[in-house]
Structure formats: C-alpha cells, structure tokens
Symmetry: C2
Subunit: 328 residues, 2 copies
Amino acid sequence: MVNIKDVAKNANLSVATVSRYLNKNGYVSKKSSERIEQAIRELDYKPSSIARSLSKKQSNIIGLIVPDIKNPYFPELARAVEDMAWSYGYTVVLCNSDEQTEKELLYIERLSQTYVAGLIVTTSLMDPSVYMSINTPIVALDRIIDVAIPTVATDNRKGAKLGTKYLLTNGAENLLCIRGPQGLKTADDRLTGFLEATDEQGLDPIVVTTSFDFKDAAKVIEQTLMLHPQVDGIFASSDTLAIAALHIAHKLEKRVPEELQIVGFDGIALGEMVSPALTTVGQDLYKMGAAAATMLIEQIEGKEIKQTVLNLDAQLIVRGTTRKEAAK
Amino acid sequence: MVNIKDVAKNANLSVATVSRYLNKNGYVSKKSSERIEQAIRELDYKPSSIARSLSKKQSNIIGLIVPDIKNPYFPELARAVEDMAWSYGYTVVLCNSDEQTEKELLYIERLSQTYVAGLIVTTSLMDPSVYMSINTPIVALDRIIDVAIPTVATDNRKGAKLGTKYLLTNGAENLLCIRGPQGLKTADDRLTGFLEATDEQGLDPIVVTTSFDFKDAAKVIEQTLMLHPQVDGIFASSDTLAIAALHIAHKLEKRVPEELQIVGFDGIALGEMVSPALTTVGQDLYKMGAAAATMLIEQIEGKEIKQTVLNLDAQLIVRGTTRKEAAK
C-alpha cells in the first residue's frame, strides 16, 4: 500500500511538506503542490490514505443550504464560503431547499444530526425557533433570521436607495420598481430603500411584484412596459430581474440607456456578460461568503465570535445600462 | 412532543396521508400538502421527528461532485438530479471540486467513506482506476470516465457537427471554433464534430483554445476577431463561450446575426436571457440529470441497471444569433 512517505520520496520533498499539503495546514509552494499532485497520480495514492491523514477533526464538513441553486447569486456565495472553509481545512456540501419548507427541514435535519460540524443557511422559510433549536453551530447568510443567530448580510435598504438615487440624478423621471417576492425580507428592504428615494423627490413610482425567476419576471415586465410606455428608469430587486428588464427592452426596441435606464442589485458575474453591461448595486459576495464561513468555524472550534452581526454596505457599480453624462 | 398524529389532526387528514407526504411515498394532493405544511409550521413540529419517520433507509443521501459550481451548466444538471432523487426519497449534497485533483479526491473520500449511499461525478480529473476503486455505487454524468462505470452523456461530436453545419447552411463562410480546454474529452469531441463539418466543405477554419471562464474567453475572442475580421460564423464549445463571443461582437460593433452568426453548445437558461437570444446545440440537461439519478438509485437499491451507457442526442435550438432566412 502506497503511503505518505512514498509520495514524499517520489515528489522529492519532505514528509512534513506533503503532510502540510494534505492537511492544508501551513504554506506549500505552488511548485511543490504540483509535484505532490503529480506523485499522487503516478503512485495511484488512494483517497483512503489521504483521508486518514486528514481525519484529525471529527467532522470537518460544513453544510450550506441555499433556496435555489439555479439562481446564479447562490453559486457565487457558495464559492466564497468554500474558499474560506477550505483554507481552514473544512469542506462544504451544498443543499438546495428549492424554497420548500419540507426540503429545508429535511436537509437541516439530515445534515445536523449526522455529520456536519455546522450549518450556513441562506434561506429563512421557517420560524426562527426552528433554526435556534438546531443542536449545531449555525450562521445566517444573506437573510436575517433572528438577532440570536450570527448573521452576515448586506444593508439592502441603504443599497436600494443608493441605486434609485443614481437613476434619479441621471435624469430618469418615471420610475418602475421590480420588487422580488412579498414577505421576503431582502426584497421588502430593497423596496423600502427605493421608496425612500422616490418619496424624497415627491414621485409616485410604479411597483410590480414578481418571483426571482427570469421567465416569470420577463412576462410581468413586458406587460408593465406595454401599459406604461413612459417608464424611463427601472430599479430591479436583483440582477436577474434587471437582466429580464434589459431583455424585454431589446424586444420592445427601447434603447438602453438612452430611452430606458436600468439598475440591478447583487453584483453577480452575469451582469458583466450582457450587453450593455448592467449597472448595479453590488454586494461584496465574496466578502459575505468568506465572513460567514469564518464566523461558523469560530463557533465550531469553540472560539469567541468577535462580531455576531455583520451588515455590509453595497457599492454602486456603474456600467452600461445607465447614462454616462450623469448629473453633478 | 408534537408527533405525526397531531399534525394529521391539525391538518384534518389521516396519519397515512401525512406519512405518505413526509416519506414522499405515494400521491398527496397539492391542497393536502399545503395543509400539512401549515400544520407543521403551526405546531412547530420539529425536524427530528420528521427525520425519524424518514429514517427507513440507512443513508439516503447522494453526493454530486461538480467541477465548477459557478458555471451555470452544473446547477442546471444538479437541479435535475435532485428532482429525480427526491422522488425516490433521496436528498442530494453538492460538492465543488474546483477542477482540482486534490479537492476531488478529498470529496470522494469524505463522502464515500462516511455517509453517502452513492456518488454522481461530473468531473474526470483522475485516473479511471481511482473512480473504479471507490467502494460506493457511482455514475458518471456528462463526462465519460470508463466503460466500466455507468454513464450518462451527450453525443458531443454529433451535436457539434449539427451546429456547425447549421452555420454553414446559413451562409457563414469564414468559421471560427472557440474550443474549450485541450484534453477535456467533452471539448475535444466537440472540436472533432466541428472539424468534420468544415472538412466536408473543404474549409480551413480558425480554432482557438480557451478555458470555460467568461473573462478568459472574452479576451481570447476579442484578440481573434481583431486579427481575423473576416470571421462571419462562430461555433463555441459552450454557451458561456458563445455569450462571451456575443458580448465581444457588441463591443466591436459587429451586428449579430447580420455580420456574424454564433452557435453555442449546452442549452443553459442563460442563452435565452441575452439579446439576441442564443442559437445553440441544446443538451437535454433535465433528462441527463434525471437519468443519472435513476441509474445510481437502481445500483444503490441492488436492482439490475437496464442500460449502463446512455448517450443522448443534442438538438439544435434556433434563436436569434443565426440568420432566419436560412438555406433551402
């Protein structure tokens, strides 16, 4: 049976270096890492032996529950959680609750009672007491469940106000807000921020509700723009909704940003891929995911958490769906 | 402690119905499901009790390993795996190997030696012997590892030939193929199909290599189109690459499809969101994911697998990035 010494010998490195590499515990240069990987392949060093050297912690798996894996926002958050977790020697398993209470309950149950060291939840379908009764360290990410649960989120109200004000200072006068599902705190807060900005100007904007699904949203937006052709500025409660608005604008042959300006929310990579690229209120998704992982691992390892609620500011990312010749 | 009888009483349904619902075992109407969910919430019926009624199987968790969760192709596959698994009473945990051998090994190891009933892998970084030595049922999805491992995939060569021929019959003469990473069988097969179609016409197309990452691809495509402005047809090895091409076409002010036609591969939802919407060679992602889940569960439950290799045909999905006034 091939062992760690064989790998070290083949890679012409010390056992300590290979061990550091396998345990992700300390620095190993890129070049050495490559030689170790090569040796692992050449010697057909079996996963079981790697696992043994890694089994110092009872469980080093973190469960991450997301409401909709097809919404590109969540894979980006997941990626950040994973990177940070990995640097601490943890791996992440991802579960999709599909916005169903039953699935969410089942995942939380199966994960927490069996093998995960902790949970990060980006869903909030159930009563806060359910999350609080879980006998496993937990962190809420993106959605606030209860003050008693360590939380990483963005100040959605403030961000939405920022995005809406940018539309107004850029000359938009007839605003439409495409808000997400009612009762979802994230979407509710973004609407509040939007209305704060329009109220300050004494405006009477149009507000329509849709799910975060692209096709549903596109339908609602098309109907709304047909009914209200005067709309010249759209604030959307997510980038997916904003991209749906852009898609419909093309379909209705409205020039963006000349006739219609659009601002999204989230800052997902997709916003850079469309044409024109999307102006948006960007959350620091990487920072959010990484902070949630750190907070969880501090709990798991019995350390005191320095900060239990992290409420990050969103930043305006100006791209092509708003006018450049802005206001002062 | 609240139990299943209390839930049944509160929902005004039989215990059998609630049990069927909880175990996803047999038909429960939408209306009854809603009443049960409501009762669970009202009574604060705890996950632990649900889990107990569900713990008939030793482990009913399936592990799904994907190479890059941020590539929208994989969440769509995952969604299908999950739907089918759920209908059999299984849940799915998703792991992102990040195209790193080390991570893939570690996930396979941690998952297979601890708690999953089976694995679906959409990665193929390691030697086939590693996958074959895993002491857990396994299915390869999207990437072919070895004939000895049950596999669900698309006929990539045939699909690529179909897409390329469509460009040619639509009047494109100076073709560019944006192939994915060299050595990745999926990308290699798609290039082969592309070249078969251009060879039949005696053409001498341009072929460029890029990773599947949007930004990397955009850079390569921009350089290529600057160097070869005569290109009037692009076949891309994935929809993400095709969307990068569309993005660059907008940037270089090339009209699509009038001056430049683009065909992608995969059929992800994103292709419908861009403008013009992407013509692509669509894989039946839902069917692929569902078939892989079924094949795996048949193995887990000791049934004979009817078919060990499922090689599905891709279909041309004609949208806006190719000319409509096609050929005869």
